[in-house]
Amino acid sequence: MSLTQKGRWITVVALVCLAAVYVRALAFTPVERLQGPAQKIFYLHVPAAIWTETAMILVGLAGIFYLFLKDPRLDRFAEASAEVGTVFATIVLTTGPIWGKPIWGTWWTWDARLTSTLLLFFLYVGYLLVRGAVRDPVLRARYAAVLGICGMCLVPFIHMSVFLFRTLHPQPIILKPSAPSLPSSMLVTWLFSLAAFTLLYVGFVTQRYALSLVRDAHGGARPGHV
């Protein structure tokens, strides 16, 4: 079974899991009285935000190892992780405002998680633009690694500056990012969703990695806007 097929199978399983999460969240998880049904967006928004950040950290780690080992596979993984991270960031940046409107009355709130995801989104855009602007594969891998490492190191500072910064509204206790203090049934749904997003990440990255392998074999020079 080729890497592409493995990636596709993992993605199919992940999407099935997500469907299960949808059913469980929508039908079998109690509605939170304070915020109403809109609170259920939490089950998608937070796991996607967690993986937006994790993907960036993995891009940075791959970058560190690439600079020492010069192994093109690490660079391929970093490229895949950055693209998938961008997709998850898009989910966060769309579900965030949809959730903010009913709860806080405005589409965009400088809420801590939303703001940090927006910054991560700009980081990803910059990273992918740098990859697109450099033709030589070795130089591209090295510049991408440098930017990836800086991006990874920026994540804690984004957190510090965003959480120190007074958000528009006091942080509702329900959304505490660390250990969500939720009744068990909600917590289980949330954990299922996190698992589904993890599988999605693995499936997508595997496929994207396989894609750049295929492009290499054909194109000779590593992919990019050649």
Binding site: P72, D136, P137, V138, D216, A217, G219, G220, A221, R222
Partner: protein, 239 residues
Amino acid sequence: MLSAEGLRHAFGEGRGQVVALDGVSFNLTAGQTLAVFGPNGAGKTTLLKVLAGLIRPQQGSVRVAGGRRAIGWIGHQSHLYEHLTVRENLLFWAALYGVPAARRGPRADQVLERLGMGDRADQPVWSLSRGLAQRAAIAKAVIHDPRVLLLDEQFTGLDLAAAAELRALLGELRGGGAPGAGRVVVLATHNVDEGVELATDVAFQRRGRFVHFAPRAGRGSSDIAEAYRRAVGGTGTDG
């Protein structure tokens, strides 16, 4: 003084890969001048850049007695700041190459004198003619009295007179004469009759390999051109 061991380097991966160096090894001692001939794309510039430490070879190693401080590099870029005067440029580079502060001024004057540019010392580089600018670039390359001098395609675009002048300059700068004294010089050119008189050894490079490496032993440019044709095919002057 300057030795290369199993140098291998390629650009790109997969089918689009260009092999620039494919196993190059040699050893040069003081007073030796190696002229490397080869068509464009044979990997001559890559070889010189690897020797100069600008590119880390994927395989193999380069040993230079005295490290980078002992290398003089003359490539296609002048490395001169136009809005600085010739002397200011020389003082700047001398500082970077670790020439003690007190000796920088006298050293700069001495080099400029030897290159016949004593009167131009305080002119900004942008005001120099092309020939003078090249001479100023050579002054910069030897300001720190390097043991190893690397020249990449320095004769291209020069008319006969300028080429002769440059040859005289390099011959004089090479110093030595007595074995064991003087610098090691490696010059790369795709034109056989330019660098031959200076060379003590001759090499032909094709697709990253030395297909010929031997002392010149009194051979003139025509003999070298003939040897080149046999070894590489085509005249040394083709592109």
